[in-house]
Amino acid sequence: MATNIAEPSAAGAAPESAHLQLEDRIWLLRAMLLMRGLEERAMTLYRQGKVPGSFYDGYGQEAVSAGAAFAMGPQDRLCILHRDLAAHLIRGVTPARILAQYMGRATGITQGRDGNVHFGDWRLGCVGMVSMLPDMMLVATGMAMAFKLRGERRCALTWFGDGSTSRGDFHEAMNWAGVQKLPVIFVLENNQYAYSTPLDKQFAVDPVERAAAYGFVGVTVDGNDAEAMFEATRAARERALEGGGPTLIEAVTMRMHGHAAHDDMKYVPKEQVEEWRKRDPIDRQEGRLRELGVDVEALRAEIKAEIDDATEEALASPMPDPATAADGVFCSGEAEPLLDGQAPWSGFATATDGASS
């Protein structure tokens, strides 16, 4: 069972991707640091009463979204889950808009219409999640279906959690993608708990093993290693673009905080949290880069300054006008499809269309 990884890998010892240049490896660290810093800042704003509702973060899971999103090309499409902030950052959403989103401001990605990480910037090729999980597995499958019908070399990717594997849409999407052999990547973010429910109450068989039953590849990856996540996703994307069909990537990780800000997580044994703390994904990537002579402290300082600026900008941005509450329920113009997003991996810089490495 992939759900019990007995030996935490030491920093720097995990297999590295031969497809990453130094600048890429810094980018991965940068995305994770920015995610963690922004979420910590948002938590502070929440405690100050500036973030309405509750607050959800992905502390300790940064490598899952950073590594996977980094392998996606500009023309690929992403359906992003709530603990995957790094994916938005990699696609090009600015920190100020994210903080404004958390605070329900008019300049947030949903302009105050939805909260938290329930957003996706369609101009960057992303669709935001809904709370009914894992609905976006089918949406991503449908995107991939369109790509295949049109003969395009592109793929779709979505994240979902261990709890999601119990729902019908997981089955419908896995089956549909397998039957039609679609270019879609399913990233199962196994963070040990669905709210308070542990894995042994969620499934009897490790879900990665189900992939074979649907006729495609399932791989288990150390979800706390951004480079391993990148490499698994890059390989899955190659397979998808070459007509090899879907891949289920099970990213094994740990939800280090409660389900949301109000959750004290008393149902999680302290030893489990401590064990996983040794495998922090940011520590691991920093260790690698320090060995390569990268000035990690300078990067941290740069990111902190960026977050400070973003906070200032977000706090200065207006709340939405109540008179607009009923606007935009329907589209009244042309239906515009998703546009391309940022794709910083150096492997795309050399490809002419961004569609292959």
């Binding site: 369609w122 809904v130 089918l138 949406v139 449908g142 991939a144 279906m145 549909w176």
Partner: protein
Amino acid sequence: MSTLTYLQAISSALRDELRADERVLVMGEDIGVFGGAFKVTDGFVDEFGTDRVMDTPLAESGIIGTAIGAAVVGMRPVCEMQFSDFISCGFDQLVNVAGKMHYRQGLAVPITVRLPSGGGFSGGPFHSQNPEAWFMHSPGIKVVAPSTAEDAKGLLHTAIHDPNPVCFMEHKHLYRRIKGEVPEGVFETPLTARVARSGSDLVVIAYGAMVHTALEATEDIDGASVEVLDLRSLVPLDEDAILDSVERCSKVVIVDEANSMCAAGAQVAALIAERGFESLDGPVVRVATPDVPIPFSPPLEQAVLPSVERVKEACRELLAY
């Protein structure tokens, strides 16, 4: 112009759209090689191939969910629910993903969901429902319900061209029973009500199959001048046309084939109570299916569905008020 059945008109609209717009694909259970449970897409595979006339897995959430995904990357999917009842299995995708997408994220979801609905032929509790009100109550989804062959084609074109999710309620009992002159080619029917017969003593407001029940019931009620207003579109609801008829006729009977509670007709009654009260010369009268599952056995089914006789009786009583 050619004379088409209601079903042929729907087929004609789909065929014309597939010919005119390469972004259009039709998808559903058994619609490809078999041509659909009601043969709406009979022969389509030969002309358009199995990619654009897609036999899907038996998965209604999958049909709606993948259609949403295809739509947001530029396709114009038209989904067929084999029976409208089965949309309950795709409800979440339609209501929570498609319906709220534009409001939340500014992203349009141009999908059409064809929902063969209605009873009258012993379909029983799972093949006879009229679920339109579920979607009227869900922001972000348009709902249309044609009663004539011409509107079946025109409204389907309108639905497919619309940048929003549209539920197209097609009444199974009209498929082969109703015929009419239908213009050739692509044309759009506006999302407004239609006066099916003008009158001045009483108006019967209905949509879908109940328009025909209303017309038959009011053909001759002791010489009274009875208007029949065919709503055609439930979201958006043509409030002006409803209030205009009420103002001219002063007496209103509203007919739903759907279960009575919170039905489309209940919304129409509420509208009239709020904004047409001064025009009324009698209580707003509703005729609808009582709040029971649609039973299988003919005498039971006929006991619950609004009949010509029930509508006639309701009109007669109101005219005498």
